[in-house]
Amino acid sequence: MNIALLSGAIMSLILISIALILAVFVFYFYFLFKKRGREIIKEREESTRRIYELAILKELGERVGYSLDVEEILQIITGSLKQFIDYTAVGYIVVTPEKIKINTHIEKSVSHLFLKEMKDKMTASLSALTDQTFDKFKLDEVVSGAIVIDEIKQNIGSLFNIPLVISGKVVGVLTVAHINKGLYKEDDMTILYKITNQASEAVTRLHEVVRIEKGKLNAMVESMQDGVLMVDMDYRVVVANPAIKKIIKFEVTKDINIFDFVDTLGGKFDIHGRLEEALVNKKIFVSERININDSFFEIGVYPVLHYNPKGESQMHGAVVVFNDISKDIELERVREEFTGMIVHELRSPLDGIKKITESVVAGNIDKNSDKFDEYLKLIYQGSASMLELVNDILDLSKLQSGKFEVRKEQANLKEVINNRVSFYKVSADVKKIGLETYLDDSLPELAEFDPQTLKQILNNFLSNSLKFTSVNGLILVSAFVYDPREHFPKNFDRSKVPVFPEEKDIKVKAPSLCVVVSDTGIGIPEDSIKDLFHTFKQAKLSPEDGENKGTGLGLVIAKGIAEAHGGAIGLVSKEGFGTSFFFTIPLN
């Protein structure tokens, strides 16, 4: 019995223990599952919220699109807010340079007191964020949604503000308010903060794009040589670049208005009338040449139209462009002068020949007299100079049309120089001018160039030197190879001539043949030098003997020849002392 009792007790103890252990397990698992279940629900809630947040962000993104209007974006945000936040009223405040705007949407009726409190809180928030007071600002206020009922004595229970930041600057505040207390959790604010932030970023990016593009356009307009003026529909100056201010002699840093233009242009150009034509009738106008302060302009007036994707045009204003054509007119004048000069130079000897013949035919000259011989010489000189001029003009037109040919061959530069020097020796002797050569040992026996055209350059240099050098002067023709990495040959005495190019004057990149014709002539005035190689503007120099006049075309042709060889031409001169003309031909 005892044993049975004992064993029964033991059995029941074991059973109880097992039951207890089981219960513990059951509870353990129960709680474990319960906890997991809660977590699952929480996770589900979380992901739902996330999906929702994403959906709203996406929707906002699409609706905000490429709008740059902060207010429009705020409207979109406030409009879609009620999908995930419960509120009594939502609003925003934005600041512009001259005023603040408050826009409130009431979801459930509230009192004026509620609205005022909300407004004050918004302004205070913006004030704190921007560190500025808005007492003196004009206020624009819009209230929409449910009606205002002052009998509802409910104050703001919960409220939060989200700042709107564009390009690092607070431009507005978004405010959500509710009559119930303690309603808004961190999560709600985070979502709204994210949305606003996303919108801000999008707008900031767009602003940046616009700023860069605007900057490019501004820089372009600012740096334009042409004067540019743009006015809006009310003739207010929107753009006036420095060039246009300079044209009408207006201080560049000052603000300009349309009347400054009307005053300066006076009767020369009816700017107001032309702008009106452009703004009202969309008419383009381009003026004839107009003279303003010593310069000539062509003034164009154009309507500024913007075409939207639908093809509708919208008028933004009109633009006036002042195109400086002074240079064209100057070139025109120079060309005319050049043509006149050529005609004159051709006509003079021809006319002389004609007049001599006239005299001979009229029997005024005895055929056996000295006078007759003199006239024959004049006829010879006249026809020779005319032929030279005709050849020069032909060469020049070939050079200009790019048809000038150089026939390069293996040739000996020393021979070419000696040939020309001996040719001019006769005239030099007659004028009692020394003509010497220096041919450096560095010169190769053969080099690649066109000997005929090089003779032409030498003819030009030598005849010029002879023309401008007086009795007992000296002309020195020197030739050497110049390597820009090294110096001029040392064994060559340059002191014989007063002016000789320095190494810096001869700009070559590779070893080149260098030929210098130096004289002790009258030299060339500094301000004439730049025109010497200009096709239509040769300097008018007075030769020593007065007999040999030139058109100066020879130098232009010489330049063309040197350049056709890949070389260069240049000169150094000192008035009253002498001149050195030189050319280079690169060695291959």
Partner: protein
């Protein structure tokens, strides 16, 4: 006997004109540029100047300007003879108080002499 000063660097013209001018009526003095021309104007006191425009040193237009500016210089009728034929040039020069403008290559020596006769009042042609 009238004295004519020709200021021209074109030897053809001065020499042929000298040959063609009747020696019994005219004496011709020549100057090869404007500077020499000014000197000869003072020393020779000519009755007429035949002036070229394109010349070294002092050209025809500058010569005319000097005459206008300097009141001490004798007032002498000036006939411009040049091969420059642009209308602008001619009108510019005519406005400087010259008695005539002759485009050299368009006129024969004889017609130039007739112009000289007319200016100096030595009209020998039995004109209409």
């Amino acid at each position: 006997m009238k004295k004519i000063l020709i200021i021209d660097d074109d030897q053809f013209f001065s020499k042929t004109l000298e040959t063609a001018l009747p020696k019994e009526r005219y004496e011709l003095i020549s100057a090869e540029d404007g500077e020499v021309g000014l000197e000869k104007l003072k020393s020779e006191k000519p009755d007429l100047i035949i002036l070229d425009l394109m010349m070294p040193k002092l050209d025809g237009t500058s010569f005319l300007k000097k005459l206008q500016e300097d009141n001490d210089l004798p007032k002498v009728p000036i006939l411009v003879s040049s091969n420059l034929s642009s209308v602008k040039k001619i009108s510019d020069v005519m406005s400087m108080g010259v008695v005539g403008y002759v485009i050299k290559s368009d006129e024969s020596l004889q017609s130039i002499i007739q112009d000289i006769d007319r200016v100096l009042g030595e009209d020998t042609t039995k004109g209409e």
